[in-house]
Amino acid sequence: MQSNAVVTCPKASKLWQEIVGTTREACLLRQEGREQEAVDLLQQQLPVTIRQWSNSCGESPERCREMLRELFAREQEAARIAALQRRLIVDEVCSRLQVQRNANDSVEGRVVVKEALRPLQLRHRVPIDDVVGMLDALQQAERGELAEAILPARQNFSSLSFVSQLPYPDAARE
């Protein structure tokens, strides 16, 4: 396996883990709608770590690029599946809560909703003339807050068994 160089250099291994963690964090931040923080990580923090890693891992530049491409693809796919699963769960919970709320203004529904204490804010830009788009974006944000209250993205992501089984170089070493 060509990633042996990563495995045999403790510094490179540590940096690689940092790259994996930062990439995953950026994916999670995006899921949470914290786009600017994700961009900051990807544009400011990650390039520095990648440079340090590629200088110390002993791999060719082509191999480094390939490993990074694989990592990004893997993490994005994991985030996509996690988001899909979360959406299915949240939609199901929301529809059940809606039925309860319509039936009797359920106390249970209110308890869940009470967890969503963040102000309702847009996560992306909507032109002033696009009132319909603004309302859609607000409802999407509200749904996002509710989803976060029902099933936090981080909790859902880390609970997925396939995430812990991803073949990182360190895992391969063990």
Partner: protein, 381 residues
């Protein structure tokens, strides 16, 4: 619920809202409502979907007064058990006066619901479906929206909640003048400062609705100013027994951010031991107003720092102050002076003035006209 409609001084005005976009959808009997449900004052506008003629345009103080048990017959008009708005303020001595909202969100649920039902009764919009767009403070959360939904059940059939800064920007924009070369479109590159009773919101409006990065909210607002004044006044005149309500009255009459030397003195009359006494609250009121100015200034500077540097010069030409805090005398000039002192080039601060309440309600009505059927949330009673 009982209320006395006849003696209320608030009059439902019928006027035109010709700046609004042409309506699109909804069934015949539907009435659209734009509501700014404010902590101190609410503003409501209503119109048919296919008309720019306003059926209702009214401002009502957001207060509910419950008659005291020992009040004598004939003192309160119609011997009503509950009064609202200006009537509640007028007969406050005989009532337990409740403000349903604090910080722009519902704190007294029963009073909020009673007030909402009163609004519906006053609007007298008939049996059709009533759809309302309701402004919410930018800092309000899911609990606030849920409480508002609960209070509005049975009042409106369908609702949409929208952050007030969005509605203020929409309401302030005059679409009929967009082709006028002299008209400066206030939503292209502006900084809005909305000083309410419970929150101060500052946001960038640069052709798009403010995102999470374009706005700042603080709980230091009108009520906090009252508190600063109350504490200072109570220290200076411990025997005067100031109350938050009286302090608010004094503030609304005398608030200014001029230097103590140039401000007209705030001499107020209070009853001490049953006798009237004049006291000077100039420095106490100035201290409260100045604290707000400092807070707003810090928020404005922070937000300007987030704006695209290439757009800052134009942005500084369009600093717009709205909300009850904008009625503070000299606020716009003082903020402008501070920005100049800080080194900003040629800033211009516009204060919207007495009609500030209309802008949120007007923006809400514009939104109601443009909303799609699928975007309305049904309130099931």
């Amino acid at each position: 619920m009982s209320s006395s409609k006849n003696s209320s001084s608030a009059s439902a005005l019928v006027s035109s809202d010709s700046n609004s976009p042409i309506p699109q959808t909804t069934a015949t009997n539907t009435v659209l409502v734009g509501l700014d449900w404010g902590t101190n004052m609410s503003c409501v506008m209503a119109a048919a979907p296919n008309s720019t003629e306003l059926m209702v345009h009214e401002q009502i103080p957001t207060v509910v007064g419950y008659a005291n048990e020992n009040v004598l017959e004939g003192v309160i008009p119609g011997d009503a058990k509950v009064l609202f708005g200006r009537e509640a303020q007028r007969y406050a001595n005989h009532l337990n006066v409740v403000r349903p909202l604090r910080g722009g969100v519902i704190k007294e649920r029963a009073a909020a619901r009673a007030f909402a039902l009163h609004l519906r009764d006053r609007m007298n919009l008939g049996e059709g479906e009533i759809r309302a767009v309701v402004g919410m403070p930018a800092s309000s959360d899911a609990v606030a929206r849920e409480d508002a939904r609960a209070a509005l059940k049975g009042v409106f059939h369908k609702v949409i909640f929208v952050p007030e800064p969005f509605l203020a920007a929409l309401g302030y924009r005059d679409e009929s003048r967009l082709s006028d070369p002299d008209y400066q479109d206030p939503v292209l590159n502006s900084l809005y400062i909305d000083i309410g009773a419970g929150s101060t919101d500052v946001c960038l409006v640069q052709g798009h609705y403010p995102t999470v990065n374009d706005q700042l909210s603080a709980t230091f607002a009108g009520d906090a100013v009252d508190q600063v004044i109350l504490e200072a006044a109570s220290v200076a005149y411990p025997d005067c027994g100031f109350t938050p309500t009286r302090i608010r009255e004094f503030k609304e009459k005398h608030a200014s951010v001029f230097n103590e030397g140039s401000a007209s003195p705030a001499i107020v009359t209070v009853m001490v031991g049953g006798k009237p006494r004049k006291v000077d609250l100039t420095s106490q009121i100035a201290a409260g107003c100045d604290a707000l100015l400092q807070k707003v200034f810090a928020m404005v500077v922070e937000l300007i720092g987030r704006a695209n540097p290439d757009l800052v010069s134009e942005l500084l030409q369009n600093v717009i102050v709205t909300g009850g805090g904008s009625l503070m005398r000299g606020f716009g000039v003082a903020l402008q002076s501070k920005l100049i002192e800080e080194g900003f080039e040629n800033p211009r601060v516009n204060v919207l003035g007495q009609n500030y309440k209309d802008y949120v309600a007007r923006g809400a009505l514009k939104t109601a006209r443009l909303a799609k059927d699928r975007q309305w949330q049904t309130l099931i009673d």
